[in-house]
Structure formats: C-alpha cells, structure tokens
Amino acid sequence: MRVAVEDDQSKPEEAATAVTKLINQNHVVAMLGEVSSSRSLAAAPICQANNVPMISPSSTNPRVTQVGDYIFRVCFTDPFQAEVGARIAWEILKVKKVAILSDVRNDYSVGLQTFFRQHFKGFGGEIVAEQSYSEGDSDFRAQLTQIKSANPEAIYVPGYYTEVATIARQARELGISVPLIGGDGWDSPRLWEIGGEALNGCYFSNHYSVDDPSPAVQKFVSDYKKRYNQTPDALAALGYDAARILSDAMKRAGTTRGDKVRDALLGTKDFQGVTGTITINKERNAVKPAVVLKIENGKFNYMTTVKPTGT
C-alpha cells in the first residue's frame, strides 16, 4: 500500500483542492482525513462524488458522516463525548451547578456545548452561566469574571488545549478554584506545559489513555516510542486505527474498488483497535468507549472507561 499526502494549511477551501488533487492526480483509492470537522465537511462531498471511501480519524461532528455513504469515522461523536462530560460532572464530581465556556468559532466546541447542556440538564443539573470565546483569543478574563460571579461548582470548557490551558491559568489568577471539565481537544502534552498547576484536579474525556493497561495499547505505545521517540497522543492512535480499519476492510473486500471497500467498512464489527473495540454502525459512525482522565501534577491519570449506552 502506498500513501500520498497533501497539506491543506488548515483552510477549508485548500482541503477541497487538496482532496481533488489526491483523487485525480494521485488516483488514491481511499482517503484518511481530515482531522477537524470543518475541513472534513469541505473534503467529504468530493470523496462522495468520486466514490472514494473517506475515513476521518478524529472529526467528531455528527454531520461529517451524514454527507454520504462513503464517509466514515473511527472516533466517537460529539453527542456521546458531551454525555461523558456531563457524567464526569454529575457522577464523578457530584456537582449540580456548572458553567460552560465554549469556542463559538469552533464547530466542535459548539457541538459539545449544546449536547452537554442537554445531558446535564437531563440528569437534573443546572447551567448557571454560559460564556464564549473565539479560537485564537488569549484574554479570557472578561468571561471568567462573569462566570465567577455565578458561583459554579465546575466549568465545562470544550475547547482545544492552547486556549484551555490559558483559560485555566487566568481562572486561577482570578480566584476560581473549581475543577474544569473538557473533551479530547485537551489531549496534548503541551496542555500541562502551558497550564501547569492551574490544571490540577481537572477532568477530560479522551479516545484512549497511554496508561490503559490493555496489551493492545501498551504495544502501540512502546512501538510508537521506538519509532518516533515520543509518546503518541490520541490523534496518533486514531490515525493508526483508521489506517488499520481501512486495510482490514480492503483485505476483506479483496479489492480496492470504492463501493466494495465501503461495504467492507460497513461490516467492521468488534475491531480491536488501540482506541477501544470499534464497531461501525449504519450511520458509518464508530461505536466505541471513551476514557476519563484526571490531571494530576503533569500526568493524565486514567480514571475509568465509559461505554456507549445505545448502538
């Protein structure tokens, strides 16, 4: 198998051009990517129109796979991840009043915010404040000051690590000591580098944990360290699973023809991936568990695994 790579500079329109190029110049038979949901949404219609199966490793927005029957994902979706977040607050932290601080320019963050609110209220909790920021912002004091005045017992921050770490620091400076809760966007060794002690006692949901004792995870982590000399993050693990599920489907299909590979992908059941046992459902989404991690002195400690309730 050969891999062709194109860079889309994180721009939606570049993603569309890059995918068109890959399909027509490189004649790729399947697409692994994009990472973010908004760029996957730009790329998906092109893969769909060309009958090229596309597997996104980490686009968690529900609409990505709704583009068409050639679009798959190997990560869980935002509604499930938000439910995990709500359960962290309700079941692990046992709090009733939560504030939300989300990134309005980011589809991922807005999605998590909406579903978290829904689930947490469903449990009987109360959302005492909702504030927003925009990707790239660096000053969150105004929002945090408002949140502080609402006296929440925890703050849900469904964003990416650079902003989250900065938010944590500024929150502590303003005298907010309650734990923050987040999702897989937190996952990066840099989170602690930037945020430091401000993050102690915070929780987030993730695709996998390097501390997960399961042999599949441990083997992946040690192989990856040997090859790249660094600890794999969730994106690495998901990319690995996406590629393996694709090659598994191609093997079962016995061909690289788009429609056959698609049918084989749909037949993926109880696949033993690094990020858990993966089954692809009718909506082409991965049904799989999430792990809950607690941040303690620079380490993301594995707390528990949350399994999906439905299918």
Partner: protein, 298 residues
C-alpha cells in the same frame, strides 16, 4: 458591583496595552501620514524577543531585575527593527503616492507575519514567569501583580514620552516635522534622522507592550499583532491621531468597552466593537476626541 469593578480592572489592563501600541501609530502617522500596518507586527516581535531573552536567562528565579533586562532588551531590539523597516521599506517610497506607501506597509506587515511563522513556528509560545507575583484584594476585586505592572509600566512610559516630546530638542524637532515636513527640512532639521527616531521610539513602546502582554496572558503567536495592531490603531483614531494623550485615552476606552461587551453581551462581538467604534468616530467626529479638525489643503 464587584463583578463590574473587576471587569473595569480587566479593561484597564487590556486598554493600557492598546494605548502603548497606539502611541507608535500616532507618532508615525504624525510625521509621515502613514498607517504603519507593520506596527502591530513589531509588537509581536517584541513579545518574541522578550520570550527568547527570558528563556536565555533561565536558571534565575523570577525577579525584578530579570524582568527589566527582558523588557529593555526587547525594546532595544525592536527599536532597531523599526529603524530597519523605515530605512529599507518606507524611505524609498516616502515621496511616492500615499497609496504606494500604504501598500508597502501592508507588504511589510504580511512579510513579518509570514517570516515569523517560518522562523518561530506557527504554534503559540508561552512566557515563563518573569517577575515574582502576588495578588491583592481590594473590596472583593482581585488585582494581580501582572495587571498592576501592566498599568504602571504603561503610564510610566507614556509620561516619559510626553516629557520627551514636549521638553527635549529632539521632541521639538519631531513636532516640527509632524507639523510640516518640508518646512522643517528648510529650517535645518535633519528630517530623515527625526523620522528614524520616531520609528525607533514607537517600536520600542510596542515591544514593551509585547513583553507586558506576554507577562500577563501569557500566550504569544506570530499572528497576535494583527488584531491588537488594528484595535490599537482604532484607539489612536478615537483619541485623535497624532495626539499622545489622545492615544492613551483611546486605548483605555477601547480596552474597557471591549471587556464590557465580552462580559455582558457576547464574545462574538469582541472584534466588531472596535471597528464599530471606529466607524462611529469617523462619521461623527473624524478628528477624534482630542484632535483638532483640519481642512484638506488644495
């Protein structure tokens, strides 16, 4: 009420940063009638120089002398950058149409931003702690030492600048150039030198703002100068462009209104508010709060 006061403190510390950057815009506009688009990027460079300097000085505990060294180093480096920009990009087109000057400025700005992404990497960097920190409580309002430093240093620099412009010979020459470049030249003022000094001073102030923002935010990235620069420019226009106290008032107003809008309305309007203010000012009082109206000469 406590929340409101806290927001006011947040606003003033943000506004001080805008004010420091706005001074550079105002001074350069005064002498060249140019919106120096690259000024925001000089501020970014200041933050990066500060970052690398403080990494160099690692080992030492956070201390005031260390913070001072970082600040002065960044100011010096950026003063040099300002002189280089003026010498190699603006001086060759100074006599050309104003549009040419403006496009050159846009080009310089794009160049610094993209070169910075290449050299520093597009990922944000995070300032280490520079000075020892402490928090103060005043009736429920929390003042961090970073916020106090920002406000204090900004005001100190602005007072020094005001003194420089009003009381020194060079400052006087600067005002003459700003009033009429050709006449100043005829009076024997070395205009090239004065313009270079103006760029150096403005850039040094921007660098100070960069280091201060690094101390309190503490995130810096190669594109941070774009929005801060634009908003600082709006502050300069709001206060009355070419007017030093005006830039300070404009900066504080923009910072405070931005924080209030984010806190009490929605963060989505954060960037729209500055531009909204700009449009209102230009329509209602184009000369700004402290500026004097000037009729275009034929």
């Amino acid at each position: 009420m406590t929340t409101f006061l806290q927001q006011l403190v947040n606003g003033l510390s943000l506004g001080s940063i805008y004010a420091l950057i706005a001074l550079g815009y105002t001074m350069v506009y005064g002498v060249l009638r140019l919106i120096n688009f690259a000024h925001g990027d000089v501020y970014m460079l200041g933050a990066y120089v500060g970052y690398f300097l403080s990494r160099r000085l690692r080992g030492a505990e956070p201390s005031l002398p260390r913070a001072l060294v970082v600040m002065l180093g960044a100011m010096l480096a950026c003063a040099l950058v300002g002189i280089i920009i003026e010498r190699f990009a603006y001086r060759p087109v100074r006599r050309a149409a104003r549009l040419t000057l403006l496009i050159t400025a846009i080009g310089v700005s794009l160049f610094i931003e993209n070169a910075a992404q290449l050299v520093f990497g597009p990922d944000p960097k995070f300032f280490p702690s520079l000075a020892p920190r402490a928090d103060f409580h005043v009736g429920g309002v929390r003042l961090t030492s970073e916020q106090l430093t920002v406000i204090a240093v900004s005001f100190l620099l602005m007072v020094l600048l005001r003194f420089f412009i009003l009381k020194t010979r060079t400052g006087k020459a600067m005002r003459a150039v700003s009033f009429n470049l050709d006449a100043a030249k005829l009076m024997g003022i070395s205009t090239d030198k004065i313009i270079a000094i103006t760029f150096a001073l403005g850039s040094a102030l921007a660098a100070a703002a960069g280091v201060l923002i690094g101390m309190q935010i503490p995130k810096i990235d190669p594109l941070m100068g774009i929005l801060y620069g634009l908003k600082a420019f709006v502050a300069a226009v709001l206060g009355g462009i070419g007017n030093v106290p005006g830039a300070v008032i404009g900066g504080l107003l923009i910072g405070t209104s931005e924080v209030m809008v984010v806190g009490y309305l929605s963060s989505t309007f954060r960037d729209a508010i500055a531009f909204g203010i700009l449009i209102l000012v230009l329509l209602l009082r184009p000369q700004g709060i402290l500026g004097r109206a000037q009729k275009e000469k034929v």
